[in-house]
């Protein structure tokens, strides 16, 4: 039952000429999960993905996919045989048509699913003679997704799959992903800015900031454990540091002390009682706020 994680990243580093894109990333993606990889622009998401697929080589640390070393050339070919990838800009050969692209891609994958290909051609309304260079961004995304989903891949790696898409197409894409995971027990690892879509379909997330993971965990656990505790005092809110573990942020505004914590409200309430607040308010924290709080604290 204890399956090895599909993706295992430990201390991963990537240094470009002047920039440290990834500075010691640790991350594990369990089999069968839909894993959301959140981070600001330039936080290192795309670089990490490129390293997983052998497009860039790590400067340090290790990345393993299916237990294979991502930076070993032969292993990397094997990884790519079992992985479907959609890049951030969804660029495909613009001198080809939809049919050409399928003819190019399918022979690489012995487990190519003709049945899925038919289905997605239909649902995504992709005609074989459509030229890639005339496709809108939404159509290109759908085509890229079709090419990734029909491979019989065990893992899907998607870089911002719904970026720039209108809500209707976004929904189509998410639905195709969810349907695919449900039917074929694929693992999905996707990076995104769209918090809403991550909340909707991911069961695990990691937040990356400046090349490091600042938060990882099951989304439900985060929803259970992150709380915003607001303490109102009848005087200036006291200057306190809370000893409880998991305090992400403490804000003082006049008579109000607001604590955002990842360790549940209990420990905070325990310490807060000693300060004698006039009122205590506990509220859950949305993923968007969790993101903003954990990323902002680095400043």
């Amino acid at each position: 039952m204890a399956d090895a994680p599909v993706i295992e990243i430990a201390g991963l580093q990537k240094r470009y000429a002047s920039v440290d894109a990834v500075r010691g990333l640790d991350l594990q993606v369990p089999r069968g999960s839909i894993f959301g990889f959140l981070g600001r622009n330039g936080a290192g998401k795309t670089t990490t993905i490129k390293m997983l697929l052998g497009m860039a080589r790590p400067s340090g640390g290790s990345a393993r996919v299916f237990g294979l070393a991502a930076d070993a050339p032969h292993a990397s070919v094997e990884i790519r045989r079992r992985t479907g990838f959609v890049s951030e800009d969804k660029e495909l050969y613009d001198f080809m048509t939809v049919d050409d692209l399928v003819r190019f891609t399918a022979p690489f994958f012995p487990r190519w699913r003709r049945d899925l290909e038919e289905r997605y051609r239909r649902t995504f309304e992709l005609r074989g003679d459509m030229k890639v260079k005339t496709l809108s961004r939404g159509m290109r995304t759908k085509l890229a997704l079709l090419l990734a989903l029909c491979r019989g891949a065990e893992l899907l790696v998607l870089d911002e799959p719904t970026a720039g898409l209108d809500p209707a197409v976004t929904e189509e894409v998410l639905q195709a992903l969810v349907g695919h995971v449900a039917r074929d027990e694929t693992t999905v690892f996707f990076s995104s800015h769209q918090i809403a879509e991550v909340e909707q379909i991911a069961d695990r997330i990691a937040i990356i900031d400046r090349g490091r993971a600042v938060l990882t965990g099951a989304l439900d656990d985060l929803r259970d454990n992150f709380r915003r505790v607001q303490l109102v005092f009848d005087r200036e809110a006291p200057q306190t540091t809370f000893r409880a573990a998991g305090v992400a942020r403490v804000r003082r505004q006049g008579r109000v002390l607001t604590v955002v914590t990842s360790g549940g409200a209990e420990p905070i309430l325990d310490e807060a009682r000693a300060l004698g607040p006039v009122s205590v308010d506990v509220a859950p924290v949305t993923l968007k706020d969790i993101f903003l709080e954990t990323v902002a604290t680095e400043d």
């Binding site: 470009y16 001198f95 690489f108």
Partner: protein, 255 residues
């Protein structure tokens, strides 16, 4: 299917090149009667310097058909246009897509970078071989129409010399295209190198008579009917080395 992609990527460059070369070959053959009639006037031309010497030599050779074909086709038209196409076909490679981003798609396929390069290079070389030989074969085919004949074997041998000798320029363009993301720099640098070497060859002929271009136009075969094996082996090895370098360069690159 990497071959399929290589074909789709290069088919227009290849087709245009083939068309141009075929038309040029036809034109050359059918121009001969005119040229032959102008021969008596040729001795009145006075020319000086290296260029002048070459012009006079070309005229001399053109007095008879075989020499005409060699000096005008294999030593001039074909070699010049073919070299341009060699650089052109070599320059658009994996990285020229990098500026568009589709390079990531190629790199996400389960194929090693070496395989990507080998297929691409082989497809390009195949096209260049056709570009060297097919138009040349038109010449023995059409020659009877102007009352002359040209040996098929000679056409093939000259075509092969061109291909084996000139493959280095293709390989150079491929190597450069693993370093530069655009299509222009590999193309222009390769052409510049070709031009410099051609000019150099022309002017230091007396000191060093074994230039790459004389290899490519099969001069040794034309004059002495000896195929210049040694030279061709050297250029083939050089082309292979450049392609190997391209593979190494590609393997190390971060995208």
């Amino acid at each position: 299917m990497l071959w399929y992609k290589a074909w789709l990527e290069t088919r227009w460059r290849f087709a245009i090149g083939l068309a141009i070369l075929m038309v040029s070959a036809c034109g050359l053959v059918f121009a001969y009667p005119q040229v032959a009639r102008l021969m008596p006037l040729a001795s009145t031309i006075e020319a000086r310097g290296e260029i002048g010497r070459r012009v006079q030599e070309a005229v001399q050779l053109s007095r008879e058909y075989h020499g005409y074909i060699w000096s005008q086709w294999f030593r001039q038209n074909l070699i010049q246009m073919w070299t341009v196409f060699a650089a052109l076909l070599g320059a658009g490679g994996l990285l020229s897509q990098a500026s568009g981003g589709a390079a990531l798609y190629t790199l996400s396929m389960p194929a090693s970078r070496a395989r990507l390069l080998v297929v691409r290079a082989a497809a390009g070389l195949g096209e260049l071989l056709v570009l060297a030989i097919a138009p040349s074969l038109l010449i023995p085919l059409l020659s009877p129409a102007v009352g002359d004949s040209y040996s098929v074997v000679d056409a093939i041998v000259h075509g092969a010399c061109l291909f084996l000798g000139g493959a280095v320029f293709y390989a150079l363009a491929v190597l450069l295209s693993t370093i530069f993301a655009d299509i222009w720099r590999p193309l222009l640098i390769s052409l510049a190198v070709a031009v410099v070497m051609a000019l150099g060859e022309m002017f230091v002929r007396d000191v060093w008579p074994h230039g790459i271009f004389s290899l490519m136009n099969g001069e040794a075969y034309f004059r002495t009917r000896h195929v210049p094996w040694a030279g061709l082996i050297v250029t083939t090895a050089a082309a292979a080395a450049l392609l190997y370098g391209a593979a190494v360069s590609l393997a190390q690159r971060d995208f």
